[in-house]
């Protein structure tokens, strides 16, 4: 299977660990991700906050590049995915033919065919790993853009974790906001939102959170030491990408190197579980 791949800017920088795990999983599953040549930034929150025209035009350029190639396009970043989908909707509303589908990476890899393939290739079931799935906002909301069937209570990541042999726990905060792009300008707001996510995850019995968005990962992973200091409580909650868990369960040899790039080191937990 071959798709156009729109990595987005973060995956060339702070989310290079996510990028590496995606390449690893694609290789394991025989998925060819052909990076969209000359793709540009989608404009993210900055564009839709200050410049609606740019917020429309930036993803449209990417969509046109993808349309020229003709393959479906997959985005691993929630905001990139959301902007590409919005672009596709805008084109369709103008009566232009949109011949390709825009995929969110988690949605793609939890299609039945991939779940079957993962089941077949499983070499190290993640037995005993208690996790909550954290989807964040923009892969699901607003459904008019994302076409999400169940935006308030998505379940595809839980389904994946169950296939991987882990124990996905139920909780009510799986689509609550982490504060997203406010991280730099108003870190105090992030701290409050994220601390509540930690507390709720712990109350659900989780040992880690699993994410499909590098912005969520950054906001939950990077400030954990700061939030712990402020709270007077040592949080130690690894924030794992779902792709890292697929690769781990399928026996990819490079998983420890990806995990070493997190600020909250997931290796002690996974070692204690006999998974590393």
């Amino acid at each position: 299977m071959k798709l156009s791949y729109y990595p987005g800017c973060s995956l060339e920088g702070t989310a290079s660990d996510y990028a590496a795990s995606i390449a690893g999983v694609a290789e394991l599953l025989g998925l060819t991700l052909a990076e969209l040549p000359d793709w540009n930034c989608c404009g993210a929150s900055a564009a839709h906050s200050l410049d609606e025209q740019a917020a429309r035009a930036l993803p449209l350029r990417n969509l046109r590049l993808a349309q020229r190639i003709g393959l479906d396009v997959v985005a691993p970043c929630a905001l990139c995915f959301n902007r590409l989908k919005a672009g596709a909707k805008a084109l369709a509303a103008r009566g232009e033919a949109v011949t390709l589908r825009v995929w969110d990476l988690l949605d793609l890899l939890t299609q039945p065919a991939f779940l079957r393939l993962i089941t077949h290739r499983l070499v190290r079931p993640l037995t005993g790993l208690q996790a909550v799935c954290y989807y964040g906002c923009l892969v699901n909301r607003p459904p008019a853009i994302t076409d999400a069937a169940s935006p308030e209570n998505p379940g595809n990541m839980e389904k994946l974790l169950a296939v991987l042999g882990a124990t996905p726990l139920d909780w009510s905060f799986k689509t609550d906001c982490c504060g997203a792009g406010l991280a730099v300008a108003r870190p105090d707001l992030i701290d409050r939102l994220v601390r509540r996510l930690y507390d709720r995850a712990l109350r659900a019995g989780a040992e880690c959170l699993v994410v499909s968005c590098q912005m969520c990962q950054a906001n939950l992973d990077l400030p954990q030491a700061r939030i712990s200091r402020q709270a007077g409580q040592a949080y130690d909650l690894p924030i794992l990408y779902f792709t890292e868990l697929i690769a781990l369960a399928l026996g990819h040899p490079e998983v420890p190197q990806w995990l070493a790039r997190h600020l909250v080191d997931p290796r002690p937990l996974l070692t204690a579980k006999g998974l590393l």
Binding site: C9, S10, E12, G13, T14, A15, S16, D17, D38, W39, N40, C41, G43, A44, S45, A46, A47, H48, S49, L50, D51, E52, Q53, A54, A57, L58, R61, C137, L138, R141, P142, P143, P151, E152, D176, C177, G179, A180, G181, L182, V184, A185, R186, L189, R192, L193, L222, P223, R226, A260, R261, H262, L263
Partner: protein, 187 residues
């Protein structure tokens, strides 16, 4: 007499932008689900109410629109299909386009720095560049250094650098860098 900042055209301008607000019946579902309402001066339902009342100046100067994280919960849940998060964006854009003072200049300046970084960086975002542009804006970095408030940020940056997650080399300059710069010409 209506207050002096009353603008009859506000709801009409929003409707023209595809953001009609006149179906609001004040159920407050938006405000009850908003994760950031604690940091707002107007809950989202009041933003919509004031838009209907034409209270443009109140809205363009409020804190709410800047601490909204665009999580889209309000837009998703509105029983009347009002794009509340879209209204927040429209108000932010108007406030900046008209050069008005805003109560959260940090948020505004970060967005500006982001768009400038994409424009000057050749079409993709360089994370160190956006941080540098943001820090330089209004001498923010210098002020922080004086209060030694920057220590945490520097520590995080060093941690990322140590883990090879901070890419200091500029991103690839796109063949279409000129197209992207034209789209972002205002920044």
């Amino acid at each position: 007499m209506p207050p002096s900042d009353f603008t009859e055209d506000l709801a009409a301008a929003l409707a023209t932008a595809g953001l009609a607000v006149d179906a609001c019946y004040q159920c407050r579902k938006c405000s009850n689900g908003c994760p950031l309402v604690f940091a707002m001066d107007l809950p989202p339902d009041q933003v919509i109410r004031l838009a209907l009342a034409g209270r443009e100046a109140d809205l363009l100067g409020c804190r709410t629109i800047w601490v909204c994280s665009s999580c889209e919960t309000c837009t998703t849940r509105c029983p009347n299909g009002i794009d509340i998060a879209g209204v927040m964006d429209w108000l932010k854009e108007q406030a900046v386009a008209r050069g008005l003072a805003v109560p959260e200049p940090e948020v505004r300046d970060f967005h500006r720095a982001f768009l400038s970084a994409v424009k000057w960086g050749g079409g993709r975002l360089s994370e160190p560049l956006v941080m540098a542009l943001y820090a330089l804006k209004g001498g923010r970095w210098l002020k922080k250094l004086r209060r030694s408030a920057a220590a945490g940020e520097v520590a995080t940056a060093l941690e990322l650098l140590r883990r090879r997650r901070l890419r200091l080399a500029p991103p690839k300059r796109l063949t279409g860098a000129g197209e992207v710069a034209a789209i972002l010409r205002r920044w």
